[in-house]
Amino acid sequence: MKQVTILFFATLRDMTGERRIMKMIPDDMLIAGLKDVLIEEFPRLKDIINSVIVSMNHEFAFNDAPIPSDAEIALFPPVSGG
């Protein structure tokens, strides 16, 4: 098992009620697997998870990416800055 930090921004923070959580995950878990775990914990994510953007250690991350120990993972909607 390894520990990761998960951050939620904008609408994702509103939907989960969380800014930042810590999680223990299996060593071989990919981003796709982490999404399933999060949907279980936050059922409101289910309908929108495919449009959620995921970053890992400040880079965009996709379903097939393995997760290193102590990764900082963030979930957020499409950006709207500027």
């Binding site: 953007i53 957020f76 950006v79 709207s80």
Partner: protein
């Protein structure tokens, strides 16, 4: 003088005259600055009045992605000298500048206009900043529509 890249998230006003100095090297003859501002009145698509916008950033990733935008600019327009990408966050009233993309070069025909244009377009795709509209009937997040690809 070396070409500089300034990428930052700030919470206070952006001083354009100071920024222009930072963009100026001894070979610089042309600077293009794009400024985005909070519109009080929006007429396109969904016409509405804005009371305030609240900007939030995922700061370390945002600064990294701004640096990526700057790197992309340098790959496309190799004559660009200094690049500044600055996003202001926090609650902002209509009329306030929220973002600056500025590029300097020796001459105006070196892509300096296109580079600034590309910079703001890319910032709105890959830099993790979000804005919330503060309205009389409550607050609402404004969502973009760009889904990053594996080469972003």
């Amino acid at each position: 003088m070396q070409n500089q890249t300034i990428c930052k998230i700030v919470e206070s006003e952006i001083d354009l005259d100071k920024l222009l100095e930072e963009l100026t090297q001894n070979t610089t003859g042309a600077v293009v600055m794009f400024t985005g501002l909070v519109r009080g009145i929006t007429e396109r698509k969904n016409p509405h009045e804005t009371i305030q916008l609240e900007y939030e950033a995922y700061q370390p990733m945002a600064e990294k992605m701004m640096q990526r935008v700057a790197d992309e600019i340098r790959l496309k327009w190799s004559n660009i000298e200094t690049i500044a990408i600055i996003q202001r966050i926090g609650r902002l009233n209509p009329g306030k500048p929220t973002v600056i993309i500025a590029c300097s070069a020796a001459h105006r025909d070196t892509g300096v206009f296109d580079a600034a244009r590309y910079g703001i377009d890319r910032l709105k795709e890959i830099v993790p900043v979000w804005k919330m509209e503060i309205g009389p009937e409550g607050d609402a997040w404004i969502e973009g529509d760009y889904i990053p690809k594996s080469n972003d």
